[in-house]
């Protein structure tokens, strides 16, 4: 067992930097070397980009590498791979799958997307109807169906995919989880333009797509349990980040307030102060959560951070448009573009206002998250439901 103290990690960082000076090493080569040194995600196992170290020590490594001018893996662009695909592959993947997928995923050579939502199954994800049928001779799976709102499908090389493999079972039981090659024949990605004008997400049509059984994750029919691992990680990945005071959405509004006295009104002042205070309290709540994680006493606060940020982003960006008065009537650019990711800082107030509307829908709506807090944290009774024991094919749609 390797020692995994901060000093040990820092020594490894120095070795890495000595062997691959960032200034004259190719970006991808450096990131691969970092992965191989176990300094990618230190809490992952040895050989898979980590050292089995406490997760909290990652911050030490990141800070040291940043200070040395080392390139990062552009986590914003590969968020779905890092936040959702990787932990699920780690938990359920075979050794071959882990060896094959984790390194290019972390380095960013292969972008991932998430083929979960369907036109008829969003919040009620387990109702999905995309079919995967096993071919008797080859053992391969043939997938037919339609996915929707798929972020990054246009840049993705791989996808995590859930599909129905037995419509005769109740909806949670007949689902299987796959790793889908986005370049396979039969995968068609169509941009879906959104309210900001750009197309950050897509419709994905799957027609006779062949997936080898070796790209199945977890057992046949056990896909829901695997998907829950993905969804849990999706919601957890927010709280652990450290933000400075007045970081995030409040920054541009506060700056406009300071720089442009002619925009100030008393009514806006009161709202600005209320939101400034709430943003500061959200920062402290996130900081407290992070300290709990480091101290190994994770609290339930994590379930709430996404809810808080969604609400605050929406209220603050709404205020910003109003503050700008006449300028708030304008929009920076409606050109249909296909961005690599969300750009809250590079665009203007109108974009922020519109894009923030997605914060309470993507990754589980605020209503669904409130249900989760009420039931899992507060222990309130679940919704009465009649869909648990019916075969999927007999559900009303």
């Amino acid at each position: 067992m390797t020692a995994t103290t901060a000093e040990h990690l820092l020594a490894r960082v120095r070795d890495l930097l000595a062997a691959h000076p960032p200034a004259d090493t190719d970006r991808t080569a450096f990131l691969r070397a970092r992965f191989d040194a176990g300094l990618a995600w230190v809490h992952y196992p040895e050989g898979l980009g980590g050292l089995g170290a406490p997760r909290s020590l990652q911050a030490v490594v990141d800070a040291e590498l940043e200070a040395a001018g080392a390139p990062d893996n552009d986590p914003r662009r590969i968020g779905i791979g890092l936040g959702m695909a990787a932990p699920t592959i780690l938990a359920y993947g075979t050794d071959e799958q882990k060896q094959r997928f984790l390194r290019p995923l972390w380095v960013g050579e292969e972008v991932w997307c998430q083929l979960f939502s369907e036109p008829g199954a969003g919040s009620d994800l387990a109702a999905l109807g995309t079919r995967a049928v096993r071919e008797s001779g080859s053992g391969d799976w043939i997938v037919d169906g339609q996915k929707v709102w798929t972020s990054s499908a246009h840049t993705a090389r791989w996808a995590i995919l859930i599909a129905r493999t037995d419509p005769g079972l109740p909806k949670h039981q007949g689902i299987t989880y796959f790793l889908c090659d986005m370049h396979a024949p039969g995968v068609e990605v169509r941009p879906l333009r959104q309210i900001t004008g750009e197309a950050e997400f897509n419709e994905v049509f799957l027609t006779g797509v062949r997936i080898p059984d070796s790209h199945r994750l977890g057992a046949v029919g056990e896909g829901w349990a695997v998907a829950r691992t993905t969804l849990m990680n999706e919601r957890v990945s927010i709280g652990g980040m450290r933000i400075p005071r007045e970081g995030g959405m409040i920054a541009p509004v506060a700056a406009a307030w300071r720089d442009r006295p002619e925009l100030r009104t008393h009514a806006l002042h009161q709202r600005l102060l209320e939101l400034w205070v709430e943003a500061e309290v959200a920062r402290l709540t996130g900081e407290r959560l992070r300290q709990q994680l480091v101290a190994g006493q994770p609290g339930p606060e994590g379930s709430g951070m996404k809810l808080t940020f969604a609400r605050l982003n929406q209220e603050i960006s709404g205020l910003e448009v109003e503050l700008l008065a006449e300028e708030g009537l304008l929009y920076d650019d409606w050109t249909m573009r296909r961005p690599d990711g969300v750009d809250f800082t590079g665009r203007e107030a109108g974009y922020r206002y519109l894009r923030a509307k997605g914060n309470s829908i993507e990754g589980g709506t605020s209503e669904i998250l409130l249900n989760i807090v009420a039931e899992r944290v507060l222990g309130l009774p679940p919704e009465p439901r009649d869909d648990k024991d019916l075969a999927w094919k007999d559900l009303s749609r």
Partner: protein, 371 residues
């Protein structure tokens, strides 16, 4: 640019958790809601026996006092934990007034004359409250001081003095300095308070004699500092209060059936309670940050305190209001303790500066000036 955030420790230490258990055990034993209500109805809400156990046996009164003056040499972090528990029990004890505000004023004076009184406060043998209105806020102009007619004959009237009826000594801010005046030397006119558990009185001084503890400049600075600490720690009382309301309400809606279901299974209520839980979790971070900043004398302590007060007041009131509403008719009765919490929460939202006042302070510290 606005002040960068000082590093904070927002968790509870082992010692703090031990202190919490001791205080909670005492309050569970000796300060149940029915007892608090019965006492409040007599017009004498304070429980001197409870106070002496809390103050002396647990040592809570002397937490902020250095060991060399007979205190515990602890910090605002520990005092905050005590206040959380007192808020959770709406306990009628003069902790905020005597062990926080008066103690901080005396510590701020730091004079030979203030030391003996501080020792008595730390031991809990003397209750001492500042003769200032409970609504007096940090950053607000101090009220016109009581006048010294010469030779320490103090004359004047101070309204809304909290816990004065339980005090042995009043700290009087006069034009010539700070004075310790025996409560018996003042005329106390009890008023009918909104919050039954923290009584208010008008204090009238008619050529009352007191001991001079500090000069006028020192006194005013000490009072300003004490108001800052008081406001920061009040956030913890508000947190404890809000937590009780949430826990009690969740318990109630789980057990109460209407329409053949627990009412807590209706989504309208689940979502309201989930939001309230979020608010309480956030209030905890804000209150802890204030306590920690005060303990560390962090440069951004005034901002952190203002943020905590601007936030926690509203959460406590909302929690108490939800508690009444979601208890239905029961919540509206005198027998159910919900009203004690509502009254304390609403009064707390005026004490030591309203949320609006503290947002004004945030505007100054964060350089977000009014138009």
């Amino acid at each position: 640019m606005t002040i960068a955030a000082a590093p904070t420790d927002l968790l509870y230490s082992g010692t703090e958790e031990e202190l919490r258990s001791a205080v909670r055990a005492l309050l569970t034993d000796r300060c149940d809601a029915k007892g608090v209500l019965d006492r409040a109805e007599t017009g004498r809400p304070h429980d001197p026996a409870l106070w002496s156990t809390l103050a002396a046996r647990i040592g809570a009164a002397g937490l902020l006092v250095p060991e060399k003056l007979g205190g515990q040499g602890a910090s605002h972090r520990e005092a905050a934990v005590v206040l959380e528990e007192l808020g959770r029990a709406v306990a009628p004890v003069p902790y905020l007034t005597s062990s926080v505000l008066a103690t901080e004023i005396l510590l701020g004076c730091d004079t030979a004359e203030s030391a003996p009184l501080l020792r008595e406060l730390a031991s809990g043998s003397t209750v001492c409250v500042p003769a200032v209105p409970l609504t007096l806020a940090p950053g607000a102009p101090l009220p016109a001081p009581v006048r010294d007619l010469g030779g320490g004959a103090l004359t004047g009237t101070v309204t809304s003095v909290a816990d004065a009826v339980a005090a042995d000594v009043l700290l009087v801010l006069a034009d010539t300095g700070l004075y310790a005046v025996p409560a018996a030397a003042a005329r106390l006119t009890p008023r009918v308070p909104l919050d039954l558990t923290r009584p208010l009185a008008t204090v009238t001084l008619e050529a009352a004699a007191g001991t001079r503890l500090a000069d006028a400049g020192t006194a005013r600075a000490a009072v300003a500092g004490a108001l800052l600490s008081g406001a920061g720690l009040l956030a913890s009382e508000q947190l404890g209060l809000a937590e009780w309301c949430l826990t009690e309400t969740v318990g109630h809606v789980r057990g109460r059936h209407q329409f053949n279901r627990p009412v807590g299974s209706f989504q309208a209520l689940k979502h309201r309670l989930a939001r309230l839980w979020l608010d309480v979790a956030s209030a905890r971070a804000a209150a802890r940050a204030a306590a920690d900043a005060l303990a560390a004398e962090a440069p951004d302590a005034p901002l952190t305190v203002a943020v905590a007060q601007a936030y926690c007041s509203g959460v406590a009131v909302r929690a108490a209001e939800e508690c009444v509403q979601l208890h239905g008719g029961i919540g509206m009765t005198w027998e159910h303790p919900a009203h004690l919490y509502l009254k304390r929460a609403k009064a707390d939202s005026l004490a030591l500066g309203t949320a609006g006042h503290h947002r004004g302070l945030v505007a100054d510290f964060a350089e977000l000036p009014a138009p």
